[in-house]
C-alpha cells in the first residue's frame, strides 16, 4: 500500500515540476493564420481593432514579475507600449520573455475611463481593492515597485486620470490592452537593427506627430 502511495507521490511531483515547462510550451503556439501588425499601427488605430482578433509583433520590454499577469511590448517609440494580459489558457507570462520579439494573437480590449468610473475607482482604492486600470504603465519601462503600488501612487494615478479626462474632448479617456490567447517567440534576424532614435525621428516626420 505504502509503495503505491509513494509511487503516486513521485508521479504527482514530476507532473508538478513540469507545470511551468508545459506553460512555456503553451505560450509558443503558432499564430500563422493572421498577419502580424506593428504595435504602432495598433496604438494609432485602437478604435478600429477593439474586440477584434489580431496578431501583434513587438519586443517585450517588461513582464510583471510579481504576478506574471501583465507584459509590455514596445512600439517604435520606446515611450509607447502595448499592455498584454494573458487569457485563461495562457494564465501567466514568464519573465524569460523579456528581450524576445514575440508575435501575440489576442483580442484588443477597451476600457472607457470617465468621471463615474474614476469615482468608483476611488471608492475601490479606499476599500483596499486593486483594479486593472491602475496597471497601465503606459510610459514604457517601469520598475518593480510600481507593480505593488501603494495607496499614494494609486491616488497619483487617479489624479492623472482626472487630469486626462479634463483635457479630453469627449469627456473621457480610454485604456487599451491586448488579451493574449497565443504567444510565439520570433527568431530575430541578427543583422537587423533594433529601434533607434533615428528611426523614431523618421517615424515622427512621416506621421507629423509622435505616438
Amino acid at each position: 500500500m505504502m509503495k503505491k502511495v509513494w509511487g503516486l507521490s513521485i508521479i504527482a511531483l514530476v507532473l508538478f515540476s513540469c507545470g511551468t515547462k508545459q506553460q512555456k510550451e503553451n505560450q509558443e503556439t503558432t499564430t500563422d493564420e493572421l498577419t502580424a501588425i506593428s504595435v504602432d499601427k495598433v496604438l494609432s488605430n485602437t478604435k478600429d481593432y477593439v474586440e477584434k482578433e489580431l496578431v501583434v509583433e513587438g519586443l517585450v520590454n517588461h513582464v510583471c514579475s510579481h504576478s506574471g499577469k501583465r507584459m509590455f511590448i514596445l512600439g517604435t517609440n520606446p515611450d509607447e507600449t502595448l499592455r498584454i494580459t494573458p487569457n485563461e489558457k495562457i494564465g501567466v507570462f514568464e519573465k524569460g520573455l523579456e528581450g524576445n520579439t514575440v508575435r501575440i494573437k489576442g483580442v484588443l480590449k477597451e476600457l472607457i475611463i470617465d468621471e463615474d468610473y474614476v469615482a468608483q475607482l476611488e471608492k475601490e482604492v479606499a476599500e483596499g481593492m486593486d483594479n486593472e486600470a491602475l496597471h497601465d504603465h503606459s510610459g514604457g519601462d517601469h520598475d518593480e515597485e510600481e507593480e505593488s503600488a501603494d495607496d499614494s501612487s494609486k491616488i497619483k494615478q487617479i489624479e492623472q486620470m482626472k487630469a486626462d479626462i479634463a483635457q479630453s474632448e469627449n469627456g473621457f479617456d480610454a485604456q487599451y490592452w491586448l488579451e493574449a490567447s497565443e504567444v510565439e517567440v520570433v527568431e530575430t534576424d541578427p543583422t537587423e537593427k533594433v529601434a533607434s532614435e533615428e528611426d523614431v525621428e523618421e517615424h515622427e516626420h512621416e506621421d507629423g506627430h509622435a505616438h
Binding site: 508538478f16 514579475s65 510579481h66 520606446p78 528581450g99
Partner: protein, 188 residues
Amino acid sequence: MKIRKLNRALHRDLGYIFFAMTVIYGLSGIALNHINDWNPNYVIQTKAINIQHTPIDHDQINREKAIALMNQYASGEKYKNHYFPSDTQLKIFIKDGSVTINTQTGSGVIETSKRRAIFHQVNYLHYNPQKWWTIFSDIYAVSLIILAMTGLFILKGKNGITGRGAWLTILGAFIPVLFLLLYYWKIF
C-alpha cells in the same frame, strides 16, 4: 453516534485529500501577504557597473557593439536584444536579465532574475492559471469550510465544542471581528 462517526471520517478524508492544497495556499498566502516586501516569484539580483568610454553615441550601437559592451561587464551572458529606453539609456537584454547603461554618465546596472524555488510554483497556482484549476480550487475552498465545520465536532467532553473548544472558537472568530470593527466599520 452514527453522525459523529461520519463527521470524523469526512474530516479525516478531506484532510488527507487537501493536505497538499493547504500547504500550497498557505505558502502562497504568506508570499502574497508580503508582496510589497519581496518578490515571491523571482530572486532578482542587481550589480552596479561603470562604463569607461562615455558618452556613447546611440547611432554607433548595433548588435555587435552591444554584445561587445555586454561582454565587458557581463561576460558569458547570452545576448538577446537591445533598445534605447530614452535619450540617455541603453538596455541590453540578456538571458534571465538585462544590462541598463546611462550612455552619458557610464553608470549602469546588471539585473538578473532566477525563479524562486517552490514559491514560483505555488504562486503560479495561487493566481488561478487555468479554468480547471479555478474549479478545483473552488472545490478545495468549499472543502475547507466543511473541514472547519466538521472539525468543531470531532471531540466530545471538556475539550470539545461544549467546553474548551467553544472558547478557542470564539477567540478565533473574535480576532477578524475586532479587525472589522477597528478598520472596516471604524466604530472606535
